[in-house]
């Protein structure tokens, strides 16, 4: 039974748009012979139960996440093309492997999120087009936006989110080309100081560069003058994970703060070394099964509902289950369904109310009512006196 590796598709001239997917591809290429596995750029997180990529499908089971995939592949593989150092590490090296993997997937992914997702220029010029190339048509409206929101949140949870916040706030200002004032004249760009005329990435650059330098210094310090990070003779899973993140950091964005910082580091040699390692075969790519129209519409609808303000989050929790029940512990989940339904209804009511209010005339404006003049018949023709006499039946 061959291993099927499902990943995000290629972008920026790399094999994948996602760091863990890149790492998994590189590691698989190192461990396996080409006939042992296949690479499927499915771009579909809904395949695996954990709803995340990379995901490995083997023997009717799904394994997701880089670390899990590697340990599964090592244990279930019989013929190695190249060896991975993970099995014969000293306890100290194992501890380092865990700690640095954790550093990469938190700080590293935060930096990547800032440089490729949160920065408005990189998002517009690079990342969004890359996702558009990967996804079928209506999904390009929902999935990239969700990915970006998640990336910004990720950066925020690392305590460097305010860079993203600044980038977000200045986005409108930075994009406005020519504005006209209400009287129809061109508005002059405000030239109040250097800060106003800088792009959001430039204002954040100093702090961002500091974070990047610290991060690279930590990795450089681990590697020292060794060939591989942990000082092993063959690469370990940490080396491939590092490669995945460094490759994405090395992407030329409109404001390549990360890439420039990386280029002054000895670490760039490590990246070059992994990149130029002789590849014995071409990646065994396979076409992914097309989703089909119903599937696409289903995913699109799901994404669209998730992005409704207020109701989206409850919907997501209800759909994908907030907490998987632990053995021995019952999770009372009964309250979540009413909350989700309630919020959905509330959302609809708010939208309805908004549409209704738009239909009303502007508040404070004088109201004009137009009516067809009532045709006056019978004794009404004679004004008030006629109205009084109208009760009498004789004059009909």
């Amino acid at each position: 039974m061959s291993f099927q590796l499902h990943v995000w598709g290629p972008a920026f001239g790399l094999d994948s748009i996602d760091a863990e997917c890149l790492a998994a591809i590189a590691a698989f290429r190192h461990i396996f012979h080409h006939y042992d596995w296949s690479l499927i750029a499915s771009n579909d997180t809904s395949l695996s139960p954990d709803r995340t990529l990379p995901a490995l499908f083997h023997d009717d089971t799904w394994i997701s996440g880089y670390m899990n995939i590697i340990s599964y592949a090592i244990h279930h593989n019989t013929s190695y093309a190249g060896s991975l150092a993970d099995n014969d590490l000293t306890p100290q090296q194992e501890a380092d492997l865990l700690a640095y993997s954790s550093l990469l997937s938190t700080r590293g992914s935060g930096l990547v999120a800032l440089s490729l997702y949160a920065s408005p220029n990189a998002w517009v010029e690079l990342t969004r087009p890359a996702y558009s190339a990967l996804l079928p048509f209506p999904l390009t409206w929902t999935i990239p936006i969700t990915m970006r929101a998640a990336a910004i949140e990720k950066a925020e949870s690392l305590g460097i989110g305010y860079l993203a916040a600044e980038a977000e706030a200045d986005e409108a200002a930075s994009k406005s080309g020519l504005e006209t004032t209400s009287t129809g004249f061109l508005r002059l760009r405000q030239q109040l100081g250097p800060k106003k005329s800088m792009q959001p990435e430039q204002t954040a650059a100093i702090r961002f560069k500091q974070l990047a330098d610290d991060f690279f210094a930590t990795l450089d310090d681990l590697r020292g003058s060794k060939k591989y990070l942990l000082g092993t003779s063959s690469p370990s899973s940490l080396d491939f994970l590092t490669y995945g993140y460094l490759a994405l950091m090395n992407v030329q964005t409109p404001f390549p703060i990360l890439a420039q910082s990386l280029r002054c580091r000895p670490l760039i040699q490590f990246l070059r070394m992994i990149e130029t390692e002789p590849q014995s075969y071409v990646l065994p790519r396979q076409e992914s099964k097309p989703r089909g129209l119903p599937g696409t519409i289903y995913v699109f609808a799901d994404g669209a509902i998730e992005s409704i303000a207020g109701a989206g989050e409850s919907w997501r929790r209800w759909r994908h289950g907030g907490i998987k029940s632990d053995e021995g512990e019952e999770i009372q989940d009964s309250s979540q369904t009413p909350v989700a339904v309630g919020s959905a209804v509330l959302g609809l009511v708010v939208v309805g109310a908004a549409i209704f209010l738009r239909g009303l005339s502007p508040f404070g404006a004088s109201t004009h009512r137009f009516a067809v003049p009532k045709e006056e018949t019978g004794l009404y023709r004679f004004g008030e006196v006629g109205a009084m006499l109208d009760i009498l039946p004789i004059f009909e």
């Binding site: 954990d50 990720k154 450089d220 681990l222 994908h320 019952e330 404070g364």
Partner: protein, 323 residues
């Protein structure tokens, strides 16, 4: 005549003004422009607040009685700074002894710091702990509270001892283990595990209010916030407790390996900030004063005797003769 001229001028603007969905109606806009009607002078400080604070005060999550005795806080990030502030303020590392009779103040070597019970709403950044430096009314800068992310710098500037110089870059990698793997398991165990709900409400909710609906709301908000934190950190859609506990176990194993046979982490002669961080979790997990119903994290930690004795060493240093 003039009125028609006015109208024709005004007309081209109109479609612009009314085109947006969220334009404020003109009468409301006029009304809001009048605000604020009156600005009051800043309130006097409450009578119970001291005018001249000559000791720094650390505000943490803690019950009032425990604050008087200077006992450890029950919130990991507060406890970390409680331990480290004790350390940074003294010239002798973590060596000091609480004098239970003198109450209120942790008697440190020459420098006191006062412990106060507080909550998130009192903090300028919305998060505890924060520290009010000793202040004099004449110096406005000294009145400014110091949030937790600046505490280390404050300690370096004002402490009588320096932290052991940077112990190498590895510390950062291991910090990420604590901040993510161990913290996620901690968050799940305290906030989301249904059997620990009673403990959670005793710690955070009962002291805050006595009203039932408010308690229910706070409990829901707390749980929800914890869930979001975990999801953000794991970047998954769902929380899988088995994974979280496995992650924590791996992290504890790595920490135990790094500690090795040394007394403190990374071979330092004195306990540093990293030791305080580890202690803030290990102490609370092992603390008998907290009525843990779900003892999984406790069981996991018991498997690592070196971490347990590390925790005991720090406890010994800070709070004397153990529990």
């Amino acid at each position: 005549m003039s009125s028609t001229a006015d109208k024709s001028k005004a007309r081209p603007q109109q479609p612009q003004e009314s085109s947006g969905w969220f334009t404020i109606p003109a009468p409301l806009a006029r009304l809001f422009k009048k605000f604020p009607l009156l600005t009051y002078p800043p309130n006097e400080l409450p009578a119970r607040s001291p005018d001249i604070r000559n000791v720094p005060t650390l505000y943490v999550f803690i019950s009032d009685e425990d604050a008087l005795k200077g006992l450890p806080s029950f919130n990991p990030s507060c406890l970390k700074w409680q331990v480290s502030t004790a350390y940074l303020e003294t010239g002798r590392g973590l060596v000091h002894r609480t004098n239970p009779t003198s109450q209120t103040f942790l008697k440190l070597a020459g420098v006191d710091f006062c412990l106060r019970s507080s909550n998130n709403h009192a903090s300028p950044t919305g998060a505890l702990p924060f520290l009010l430096p000793p202040s004099t009314p004449s110096d406005p800068k000294s009145q400014r509270p110091i949030p937790s992310n600046k505490l280390e710098q404050y300690g370096l500037d004002n402490g009588k001892s320096k932290l052991p110089e940077s112990l190498g870059a590895r510390i950062e990698a291991y910090e990420s283990l604590i901040d993510h793997r161990i913290r996620n398991a901690w968050l799940y165990t305290l906030y989301l595990s249904p059997t620990n709900t009673k403990l959670l409400s005793n710690l955070y909710i009962v002291p805050a209010t006595s009203s039932r609906p408010v308690r229910a709301t706070i409990l829901y908000q707390l749980k929800h916030a914890a869930e979001l934190e975990i999801l953000k950190s794991t970047s998954r859609d769902a929380i899988n407790p088995a994974d979280l506990y496995k992650g924590a176990k791996d992290a504890f194993r790595a920490l135990e390996t790094v500690l090795g046979d040394g007394e403190w982490f990374f071979g330092s002669p004195l306990p540093g900030l990293f030791d305080a961080t580890v202690f803030s979790y290990t102490h609370l997990i092992l603390h008998d004063g907290l009525a843990w119903e779900n003892r999984r994290l406790n069981d996991i930690l018991e498997e690592f005797p070196r971490l347990v004795s590390h925790r005991n060493r720090i406890f010994q240093r800070c709070w004397g003769s153990g529990e």
